[in-house]
């Protein structure tokens, strides 16, 4: 199917998003069908498809605000941000930012960070595969060279720092665990990795996100520790490494020669 030479995509999109507007010019419909009605069906399918995609992408956000609120919020987002690529799994990239500025959601200040976590899960799922480093091969590394070593993290690795307990909120809504009251003033740093087929979500100690970001920039372990300790005096390297090893976040660790 090719568009006619005078096809105006801008006008088409405007008509798609605004039910008040007439259908775009030049629509051909089978005899007996009005272009208005046919275009309204198409408009509805596009909207429902995108809102449903957001709904599936952000299931915990949906639970946190309820179905009706989420649908309305997703609709507002969709009206403002259409997909920028044909890949539906990339849709919702700016949703967390949108949510943080969405006035009616003001009362749930953690909602936006939970959305960041949920988007990261989707990205991790679709990230490139890579074989994680085994714990045995980490054990075999020369201890005196680790300070100057650099790491290659799994391509699916995402970290999200929040002022709110986003991992606990997410986990409670995704599991059978009984809901327990959470201290909303206790921030959490999330680690998302998909070493094989399953996504792993864990909590890094304070400073962990700074540490991982430094490693991603190919800084040495020594430099990454300095950066994390600079951000949080209480940075616990042992706990941080344990979580990264358990999540199988390392693909390679290169020691300097």
């Amino acid at each position: 199917m090719s568009a006619p030479a005078d096809f105006d995509q801008g006008a088409f999109v405007r008509a798609l998003l605004d039910p008040e507007l007439p259908p775009p010019n030049g629509l051909e419909t089978p005899r007996g069908f009005s272009p208005e009605k046919r275009f309204a069906v198409y408009r509805n399918n596009v909207c429902v498809g995108l809102v449903d995609a957001l709904s599936e992408r952000f299931p915990v956000c949906r639970q946190l605000v309820g179905e009706e609120f989420f649908q309305a919020m997703a609709h507002c987002y969709m009206r403002e941000f259409l997909p920028r690529t044909p890949m539906l799994f990339e849709y919702g990239e700016g949703f967390a930012t949108f949510v943080s500025q969405f006035e009616p959601a003001r009362e749930l200040p953690y909602l936006s960070d939970v959305a960041r976590l949920e988007y990261a899960l989707g990205q991790a799922y679709h990230a490139e595969d890579a074989a994680p480093l085994t714990i045995g091969s980490v054990r075999a590394l020369p201890p005196d060279r680790l300070e100057n070593a650099t790491a290659t993290l799994h391509p699916s690795t995402h970290v999200i720092a929040s002022k709110y307990p986003i991992v606990s909120i997410w986990r409670q809504h995704m599991s059978d665990e009984e809901m327990t009251p959470l201290d909303l003033n206790r921030g959490e740093e999330a680690l998302v990795v998909r070493p094989e087929l399953e996504i792993r979500v864990s909590t890094l100690p304070a400073g962990g996100v700074v540490f991982v970001d430094a490693l991603k920039e190919r800084q040495t372990f020594g430099e990454a520790v300095d950066a994390a300790s600079g951000a949080t005096a209480a940075f616990d390297l042992t706990v941080c490494l344990r979580e990264l090893l358990l999540a199988e976040a390392f693909v390679a660790i290169s020691v300097a020669h």
């Binding site: 539906l88 201890p143 680790l146 809504h173 399953e198 996504i199 042992t238 490494l241 090893l245």
Partner: protein, 93 residues
Amino acid sequence: MSDKKLCAAIAIAGAFATAVTLAETAKAAKAEQEKCFGVSLKGKNDCAAGPGTSCAGTSKTDYQGGAWKYVPKGTCTAIVTPKGKGSLEPLPN
């Protein structure tokens, strides 16, 4: 190598050694769990992702046969649901 630098290198090597041991211990404990099919309530399954994929919390019905949960090892087939027993293999829905 200055004293400070030496301390940092030793601290990092020590943290690695401890972390490796802790991770091995935790992994051994996790291995004692098994994947159990057909026992998960809808939306409560353990696998993970997004639209169009099999994913944590996306199973559409209670006790869906293709969805699984981690349960303590040895307990899966003893779990009885309104749809039958838990299974170590995926079940037809």
